[in-house]
């Protein structure tokens, strides 16, 4: 590895842009990933073919073992990626191709290089996720080539001060060994919002910007201000820039340090902050977080990998574990939300043109009534065993009759609190009639948005329409919220919208009394609520509904919110 003397370039004011991951910001010195060892130009064929083959084989094994060792030391997400990468390094197809190339007179390191490039172009042709694995594969190549040539593998130099890692892209093996005491941000020239680097950065809560054109022209030792919220990398930031960036980082840190406890507005109105959970182990983990309970327990997660319906006893066991973990905190259990888009082996659905509009959620009950009865029996047994506060709700309810029939089943099983999800616009429009039949509503903003805007949740190019800030969606939420307030029954939100702190304020202004989200979203929402009064929330809700589109709605709320909240976002 060669170390260049830092020679900060005098290019103050220069700014690079890319795609920001997360909303963090930081100032630090550039540390570039050491360039990989390349095969020598015109590498000669090996003098002893047998020895060379053995060397290549042992290099593959060495790298595979090394990656597996790192996988064993890494935490689960990184471990899974490293495990997959280690499989590439023991790929019999790749090794066979290298040996075939060597037998035609190509030098060993060059043969590795060419064979990998062959597979890279196949993966690149497949596009999307596969194309992003090319980085992982090239990292395997660089390690094998270095090993074949007897040189140091590529990597990051040791760090002594706040550092911004700059690279073409980071391989899983690089991210697994990041020096978290010194790395304050990551900037890559390649990659994408779903690339490995982006995923890991989000998990480590490191500001990260991918696809930054010209990033590799930055020199070791350059000072840069990285702002993920805006996707910018400013070279040699001036005092004002530095203050803004550091101010934002401080506000975010303050948020992290800010007190926990139940959610409430500045004027003291309680807004329950709850967790969305699926698997039993997620629930046990979430129970250790500072949340007031579970607003959405997705029971279908227990069923999806099953070939046969789980027995009442099996279900009782799972539900009991979840309820027990939360003690006397409330747990809202959602009955099976499966159907054509999340098919179950034991409750097959027919081929549907529009699965999202087909037989899913509560609609499955007509075909498989036993499923719901078994589930309610198991939940009731778990409640009896734990004495927990379990509420039960059904997904995909559209009519008063469906709501009433479900409520009857819940009560017939001796469960005290039954409610429904509001995901279908029809249900929101008829909220005053539906609320009469049930004890509570929980709004699923993802599906409500998909149905209100007639936009498939998977349709990436229609992302603008799928925005829960769409005033039409807010209008529907307002109907449900008002119906709940008039009937004095709780209305919660358990979709993605709940974890956007600004949108959470709007939701409270629309009459929502609980917000359920991935637990890591709770602190930011709690912080925003504590700095905003109910009256301000109502003012923001009115402003958002008065806007002409999603962007204008958000802008209107940004103009009204406490600047400290905005700074900490």
């Amino acid at each position: 590895m060669t170390t260049t003397t830092p020679t900060p370039t005098s290019q103050a004011g220069k700014q690079l842009t890319g795609i920001g991951v997360g909303r963090g910001s930081a100032v630090g010195k550039v540390v570039k990933l050491a360039p990989p060892v390349r095969p020598p130009a015109h590498e000669a064929a090996a003098a002893n073919a047998e020895q060379a083959q053995a060397l290549v084989k042992s290099s593959f094994d060495f790298v595979a073992t090394n990656l597996r060792t790192r996988a064993a030391q890494a935490e689960s997400t990184v471990a899974a990626v490293l495990e997959a990468t280690s499989l590439m390094a023991q790929d019999p197809g790749l090794l066979a191709d290298v040996i075939r190339r060597m037998s035609t007179g190509v030098g060993p390191a060059t043969a590795v290089d060419q064979a990998v490039e062959g597979f890279c172009s196949i993966l690149e042709m497949s596009g999307g996720y596969m194309a992003e694995r090319v980085t992982d594969l090239r990292d395997v190549r660089d390690r094998i080539v270095a090993q074949v040539l007897g040189q140091q593998p590529p990597g990051l130099p040791p760090m002594t001060e706040p550092s911004v890692v700059v690279a073409a892209d980071l391989a899983p093996a690089d991210t697994a060994t990041l020096d978290l005491d010194h790395v304050v941000a990551i900037v890559t020239e390649l990659g994408g919002p779903t690339s490995h680097t982006a995923i890991i950065a989000a998990q480590l809560d490191l500001p990260c910007i991918v696809r930054v054109a010209g990033a590799l022209e930055l020199a070791d030792g350059d000072e840069v201000a990285v702002d993920a919220a805006h996707g910018t990398v400013a070279l040699d930031p001036d005092d004002a820039q530095r203050e803004t960036i550091i101010g934002r980082a401080k506000a975010r840190a303050a948020l992290k340090e800010s007190g926990g406890g139940p959610g409430k507005t500045k004027d003291g109105k309680g807004i329950q902050l709850l967790a969305n959970v699926g698997k039993v182990e997620d629930a046990v983990k979430a129970a250790k977080e500072d949340v007031e309970g579970v607003g959405l327990f997705r029971t279908e997660v227990l069923f999806l990998e099953r070939k046969t319906a789980p027995t009442v006893e099996e279900q009782t066991k799972s539900y009991t574990e979840v309820l027990k973990a939360f003690g006397d905190r409330k747990v809202v259990v959602r009955t099976l939300d499966a159907g054509a888009d999340k098919p179950l082996a034991f409750a097959p659905s027919e081929e549907e043109e529009n699965p999202a509009l087909g037989v899913r959620g509560l609609r499955m009950d007509k075909r498989f009534p036993q499923l719901l009865d078994d589930q309610l029996t198991a939940i009731a047994a778990a409640v009896k065993a734990t004495g927990a506060k379990a509420w039960v709700m059904a997904p995909m309810v559209s009519t008063v009759h469906e709501a009433a029939a479900f409520e009857q089943r819940v009560k017939a099983h001796g469960l005290p609190v039954g409610g429904i999800m509001i995901e279908v616009p029809a249900a929101a429009l008829r909220a005053p009639h539906l609320i009469e039949k049930v004890d509570f509503f929980s709004i699923g903003t993802n599906d409500l948005t998909q149905y209100a805007m007639a936009t498939d949740r998977m349709a990436g190019e229609l992302a603008e329409l799928l925005d829960p800030w769409q005033p039409a969606v807010l209008d529907l939420i307002a109907l449900a919220g008002a119906a709940g307030q008039a009937a004095d029954k709780p209305v919660g939100v358990c979709g993605e919208a709940a974890r956007d702190p600004l949108l959470a304020l709007v939701l409270v202004g629309l009459g929502i009394s609980s917000l359920s989200m991935a637990p890591n979203g709770v602190p930011a929402v709690r912080y925003a609520l504590a700095r905003t009064t109910t009256a301000q929330c109502e003012e923001m809700a009115a402003a958002a509904r008065g806007a002409i589109d999603a962007a204008a709605a958000r802008a209107a709320v940004e103009a009204l919110v406490d600047p400290e909240v905005l700074l900490a976002l």
Partner: protein, 89 residues
Amino acid sequence: MPTRKVKVASRVGLHARPASLFVQAVTATGLPVTIAKGDGDPVDARSILMVMGLAVGNNDEVTLAAEGDGADAALDQLVELLEVDHDAP
């Protein structure tokens, strides 16, 4: 030679974790298992790169083939693996 046809249940198809799990399971059988997508040419199912290179999507049909002792049982076990959605949220 024993063969099996199966539709891949994983919603992302045979990428990422499902592909790793599959290749590891194939390797564990100790048999030279091949996999083909639709009417395409079979490739070595022990090779993660070749398996990923097939770009098998959700619900695509693949054909598994293997020869040797216990080939039938091994294929049944692999079919079962592919019939599970490993990316369920």
